[in-house]
Amino acid sequence: MTMTKTLLSTASLRQRLAPVVLALSCALATAAQAVNDLPGGPAVNQLDLHPPVTQIAQQQHALHHIVLIICLVIFVAVFSVMFYSILKHRKSVGHKAANFHESVSVEIAWTVIPFIIVIGMGAMATRTVVAMKDTSNADITIKATGYQWRWGYDYLKGEGEGINFLQTLDYKHRVMSDTGKPAGDDYLLKVDNPLVVPVGKKVRIITTANDVIHAWAVPSLGVKQDAIPGFVRDTWFKADKMGDFYGQCAELCGKEHAYMPIHVKVVSQIDYAKWVDGKKRELAALADDPSKEWKLDELVARGEKVYNANCSACHKPDGKGAGPIKALDGSQIVLNDPAMQIQILLNGANNGAMPAWKTLSDTELAAVMTYSKNSWSNKTGKLIQPADVVAARK
């Protein structure tokens, strides 16, 4: 079993094994829809770590292969002895038991030799540990904040400083998941806003969280760092290749844990400069004036987007909720109690089961509340203006 595993880690064996895997998958017919490898994300029936695109990931790879080979050599050697013994030293072939049961020299040998081997293995890893932890002299510093259940990014230092946005799973994927009809090579990995960084630059990621512990992880970049509320931690990567690289939250963070992917887009320096420029313009345009008076249909249209990105995972696209998640459709608070609704959105409810949504803008909050008052069977015609939210925040 383990023998197969070593061999699998080499490319040639992977090819040799491909028909077996293929036959298995056909037999199981689990992949009803055809699925292909996702470059920068998982490959179909991938057997090894992701192809590395940073020095650190490269070293992790190399270390893993070396250690795996050492383990396999020891495993095969030791268990050859055991199975030889099992075959030859059995009563049924007439073997008579010997009488030895102690040998100090042998005991010392098999204590000292493994000791030397593990210290050697540790020594190989030490250089990488030190390199992984060296987050100094970064070109760009980005803060990644874990929210239940999305990622927020703030470009703190370097080119692009001041840019900030949220990264949320495409809500269509969440619907596909719920209906049990997954599709696509990037299933559960597609986000609205990828994190864009330039190639060949040292990017320092500072992690923190807003509610519970999350973990920011992108296998191809060799990075996994817990995002801990109330604390900041950091990690870094320097991508050697352009492309899209995917990861997923790696620390259990509640019910939507599986639905907060990470997408890092590594682009050329020129494209990065263009992106920064465009993003800054976009942010300036998006900065809504909270004193603006909105019309009902404008606000509902804006609110639908906010709802799908933030609310529909729990409250469902039809507003009916599920289980402990309260229904919005027909809810007395939604229909008749605007003050209470604003309070719940700003501060959360039920001990955090409904999170606080302070991080959304006044306009977004007003829009989503207006949407909830005028959707499904809720036909109140009422609207909440951003100014009402501003007042409630105080």
Partner: protein
């Protein structure tokens, strides 16, 4: 079990029962008021098997949901409840009590003692488990469902849980109290109640490993109790130990938890080492190689287990020196563990082996547990762990050491000692079917998880990208098979021997088994070694009373 079911059968076949007027209660009183180590051991074993089934059903639910991508059966919240409760029930309900059951049955028999030192405390430590288990399993029916924060109960996610979290904390406190009482009992029994001539260094290794395990339990169960009590006060009484909103430190929870958690994994494996150390010599017909070094290796593992906890936390962001320290310390554990594996192999070497079911499970244990050991070594290396932390690789690793390790050790022990408990031999063919079925399905279930983890599939995910579909399907099929094999084991192996169906077992059914448990009749009478036996020089034979 039938060993003790005919309550009057024992007087006749025990020549040393001089005064036998003291009977024992019958009917339900016999079990509720049990003070006999064998009865209590039996109850522990049945309880733990019941919990294994409950935890197993949860595992089947998990694997059913993961059989295909997309949500088919459960919503993610319920899925998280399943993974959490599967872990808690298997660790605290199945594996730990099962080893205590073995300790109750075998330690007095192996050291020539009449019973456990504190018979009534023994009763209490068992009966505490029942309400604890009811509260834990019952938390599924509380508002908001069972706890869903993972078996590690990381803060601050635990602070968001519903009332069932408090129930689970209460249940774990009770189980912890039960474990501590059990440990005190075992330590006092082993240290004070050995028959004359049974010196510590002549004691069977199962007693040794349990003695060390009991010390570990006493050292770390209060630490767990502290961690979950702080969680409780954070939840209800306004403290902020772990609540970052009030200046608390969620990472401190992890340090405290894993200071308990790492010794805990050795608590679950050391007694299995003891069982294997009894079985390998018996079926190799050769004395255990390196007894002394086995004792020292076990002690070293126990001591090292206190200084490696943060290898569960490489991704929390430790200083570089911290990562290096915990990496080296963790890798050192491979040395004493290796010594044990080598000693077992040297015991087998040039023996005269037969492969009845206990030996099959023992050899299977060594083979598959070692694979789990090697993946542990790989995970210990901080740079590699950054890739593998919280992925299915970790799930594969700890099931290789906990199922193929602890559970196989328990099965091996059951097949080895059940003739003594029940007085009949289990059905050898069925035992072999159980072994081979378990072995094949176990690997089918858990081997593909190594690939999933290397490819980056995070654990505790209710749904996953489509590329992971095939290995998940294979794992689900394997786990269903593994689950059914355990039902087969109970229905076709355990129940028949409990009902006394099968070949009558001799006093020593295994040709080369050694130890005082084989010096009493099968089934072991209700009372054994009421007067301390006189032992031969090796302390393995009774030469008189």
């Amino acid at each position: 079990m039938s060993a003790v079911l005919p309550p009057h059968g024992h007087a006749a076949d025990h020549p040393h029962d001089h005064d036998h007027s003291h009977g024992h209660p019958t009917g339900w009183r016999r079990w509720l008021f049990a003070t006999n180590h064998k009865d209590i051991g039996t109850m522990y074993l049945l309880f733990s098997f019941a919990m294994l089934m409950v935890g197993g059903v949860l595992a089947m639910c998990i694997r059913a949901e993961l059989f295909q991508p997309g949500l088919q059966f459960f919503n993610p919240e319920l899925f998280n409840q399943f993974t959490t409760m599967h872990g808690l029930i298997m660790v605290f309900g199945a594996i730990m009590p099962a080893f205590v059951g073995f300790a109750n049955w075998m330690i007095p028999l192996q050291i020539g003692a009449a019973d456990m030192a504190f018979a009534r405390m023994n009763n209490l430590s068992f009966w505490l488990l029942i309400p604890a288990a009811c509260i834990l399993v019952g938390s599924f029916f509380m508002p908001g469902g069972a706890p869903a924060a993972g078996w590690t109960l990381y803060a601050p996610l635990t602070l968001q849980m519903g009332p069932s979290m408090d129930a689970a904390i209460f249940a774990m406190h009770i189980m912890g109290a039960s474990s501590i009482m059990g440990s005190i009992n075992i330590i006092v029994t082993v240290l004070n109640m050995r028959a004359p001539g049974m010196t510590l260094m002549k004691m069977p290794l199962f007693c040794w490993t349990w003695l060390i395990t009991a010390y570990l339990l006493i050292a770390v169960m209060p630490v767990l109790a502290g961690a979950i009590t702080m969680t409780l006060t954070d939840r209800h009484f306004g403290t902020n130990f772990f609540n970052p909103a009030g200046g608390g430190d969620p990472v401190m929870y992890q340090h405290i938890f894993w200071f308990f958690g790492h010794p805990e994994v050795y608590i679950m494996i050391l007694p299995a080492f003891g069982i294997i150390s009894a079985i390998i010599p018996a079926f190799a017909r050769k004395r255990l190689f390196g007894y002394t070094s086995m004792v020292y290796a076990t002690s070293s593992i126990a001591i090292l287990s206190f200084i490696v906890w943060a290898h569960h936390m490489y991704t929390t962001g430790m200083p570089v020196t911290g990562q290096l320290f915990f990496m080296y310390a963790t890798m050192l554990i491979a040395v004493p563990t290796g010594v044990k594996i080598f000693n077992w192999m040297a015991t087998m070497w040039r023996g005269s082996m037969t492969f009845e079911t206990p030996m099959l499970f023992a050899v299977g244990f060594i083979f598959v547990f070692t694979m789990g050991g090697f993946t542990g070594l790989i995970l210990a290396m901080a740079p590699i762990d950054i890739q593998l932390q919280d992925t299915y690789y970790v799930v594969a690793h700890f099931h290789y050491v906990l199922v193929a390790g602890s559970l196989y050790g328990l099965f091996a022990g059951f097949y080895y000692w059940s003739p003594k408990w029940c007085g009949v031999m289990y059905n050898e063919t069925r035992g072999k079917i159980h072994f081979w079925g378990s072995m094949i399905f176990f690997n089918l279930a858990f081997f593909p998880m190594h690939f999933l983890g290397l490819a980056g599939m995070p654990r505790r995910y209710a749904d996953y990208p489509m590329q992971f579909a095939d290995f998940n399907a294979v794992a689900s099929i394997g786990s269903l098979g593994f689950g059914l094999m355990q039902v087969y084991f109970f229905v076709f192996v355990v129940i028949p021997v409990m009902r006394g169906k099968g070949e009558p077992a001799g006093q020593k059914p295994w040709e080369a088994a050694e130890g005082l448990e084989w010096e009493v009749p099968s089934p072991a009478p209700f009372h054994t070694f009421e007067t301390p036996p006189k032992l031969d020089v090796t302390a393995t034979r009774v030469v008189g009373y």
